[in-house]
Amino acid sequence: MRLELIGLNHRTSPLEVRERAALSPAQIDEALHDLHDGANLEGVAILSTCNRTELYVSPRQHHEPDELRRLYCRITGLGEADVQSAYLLRDDEAMRHLVRVAAGLDSQLLGEVQILGQLKDAFTRAHDAGATNNILNKALLRAIEAGKDLRNRTGISQGAVSVASAAVQMAQRIFGSLEGRRVLLVGAGETARLAANHLKGVGVADWRVANRTAANAQVVADLLGGRVVGFPPAAADVEWADLVVSATSASEPVIGGPETLAAVRRRKRPLLLLDLAVPRDIDPGLALAGHGDVYLYTVDDFDELVAANLETREREARRAEHLAEKHVAEFSAWYRENRVAPTIQQLHAVLEELRAQEIRRNQKRFRPEDHEQLEKFSRALIRKVEGLIATNLRQASLEEDDLSMASAVVKVMAREAQDAEVQQVLEKLRQEGTH
């Protein structure tokens, strides 16, 4: 197989090296252009994220490790000492790594989903620059497909792994869809904004914002499309909401007191109170009030939820690794079958030319009304012969790793032994045979 990879990631290199290795989109375009002109490279793609910079190449001949390191240094500007810890993988190993990256199995945060988008961008960029060949196209597309498949078929990306997203997960466990739910956001700091962004992302549209500094509350309310209410929030605001998210730096609870307690008791719908502040913002007594449908969660509870979700992801990762192997094996099978594709194309061209010649030569022996039948018959005959040979060539390549039959077919079908096209196909087969 002609697939190679060299890269650095969070496991092999410190942040300082990764920062220097990271490439901007413009630098990637430049590097793709630069490398693709190289004599030994048929395809190039570069994946650069905050945690990894990887160079995928499809060479005519496999590189020596030092050659590949030099290529990597050339595009990233790193010194040779920096890339001594880089991983160099080829063929099935490279494909396995690519699939694991796509599925988030190689990510710092197991199962994270951003990497799939980043890989798609890397593919699109390389493809649009004309830097990929059919092997890289297939490998990258296969990996993207595998990334989706593994996420769909296992739980590696399920469950929240940050406090803000855990808060959303908890809200979804209670309400189901959050569309149409009313949220009272208390606080306008980073934690409150983060939680609000997550909630907005899942469809919450009805907001009230309360903050000690009204101007900050207004900024957040404008961002969310909500309205500002007084601080601390009135009992009526708590009664109005389905979900209260509080993250202020107040030293005393800001949501509580007899009026709020009475308001919660008046409510006849579920109420979720998310207290993301330390010290706590919400009087724990509220959880015991009301109709029995009041749920109060604090930061500690979310830490537990995040830990449980990570544990689930790790368990699911073992299954995902197993499924990843299937994708690697299928790519490998495709590759081995595909090695004889130029031979089959050559065969098709020769047979088609012979057929056309013979039709032209013998056409007048047939009545004009039979010409269409003659055309159909000759095409069907050629298709049968071609299909039979192609099947056997593919089988020999796939099952016995034997390309001698393909070489023989090319030679047998050659009209002139020195034909440039024939020589090209034979050269390709020779290269494949040596890999």
Binding site: R153, Q172, I174, G176
Partner: protein, 275 residues
């Protein structure tokens, strides 16, 4: 044809639903979207096959499959699954199918074990159109109310997990409290409507064919009681007299009562005391 409708097709259906139960059993323990989609598709195919079986058997014996305890069990199993398909169209999370499937497979296995052939029909009353209307509505109501009990159980379990911070498979896999509440309400109201209609149809039927049999009376009283309990639950739900959690507990108890009533009624009917 007898062999096909009373043995081969029911056995095939039991196998199909057994396999479906196995798939959902796997899905409870691990996520697999592809498998889940396949299971949903098989579930719909199962529902279509059950409907076809109901139509064919009804055509063959000129009455719905209610002429023996085995037939009743199979009929109820079919209705439970059709009710499940109906209720689950209203919720995205489809993993809550295991309990209904246990019920469907159990009822089918019981039906097959008891024998599906009508044999000697126990009573002429069961051959009338009035009986068909009453029994069908009654069983459909029972199926939905049992489903209501299942959703309410889910609500109780998830609520317990949420309150006690147990973030295990139950917490991850059950539908949300909101969805379970919606399904519970839907099945409760529909079940109540069907049971009430069934009761009214029974009153009309007994007027047309008067019977002083004690079984009819003993069957009628608990049915009236059930309809009253259901009506109270429906009103409590609409007026929000109780919390969602307490309503769920009430529905679990109610579905237990429904199951007990159903068992008593079937035993009474087929013990031969029904005129």
């Amino acid at each position: 044809m007898d062999q096909l409708l009373y043995r081969v097709l029911p056995q095939t259906l039991l196998l199909l639903f057994g396999a479906l139960l196995g798939i959902w059993g796997i899905l409870v323990r691990r996520a697999d979207l592809g498998l889940e989609k396949a299971a949903v598709r098989i579930g719909w195919i199962g529902a279509a096959c059950l409907l076809a079986w109901l139509v064919a058997v009804t055509a063959l014996q000129r009455q719905l499959p209610m002429l023996s305890p085995g037939q009743l069990a199979f009929f109820l199993g079919s209705l439970v699954w059709l009710g499940q398909c109906y209720a689950q169209r209203h919720v995205d999370q489809r993993l809550f199918a295991v309990l209904p499937l246990v019920g469907v497979a159990g009822l089918m296995a019981f039906g097959l074990a008891m024998g599906l052939r009508p044999g000697e029909v126990p009573t002429k009353s069961l051959l009338s159109a009035g009986a068909a209307v009453h029994v069908t509505m009654s069983l459909a109501g029972v199926a939905l109310l049992l489903g209501c009990g299942v959703y309410a159980s889910g609500h109780v379990i998830l609520d317990w997990h949420i309150r006690r911070r147990r973030f295990d498979a139950w917490f991850q896999r059950l539908p949300s409290l909101g969805d379970l509440d919606r399904l519970r309400r839907l099945t409760l109201v529909t079940g109540w409507a069907l049971v009430t209609a069934s009761l009214l149809s029974a009153l009309v039927w007994t007027r047309v064919r008067p019977s002083a049999e004690p079984t009819v009376i003993s069957h009628l009283h608990p049915m009236v009681l059930l309809a009253v309990i259901l009506a109270v639950l429906v009103v409590a739900d609409r007026q929000r007299w109780l919390s969602a959690h307490r309503l769920a507990v009430g529905c679990v108890v109610m579905s237990g009562l429904v199951l007990a009533l159903l068992t008593v009624s079937v035993v009474e009917i087929f013990a031969g005391r029904f005129a």
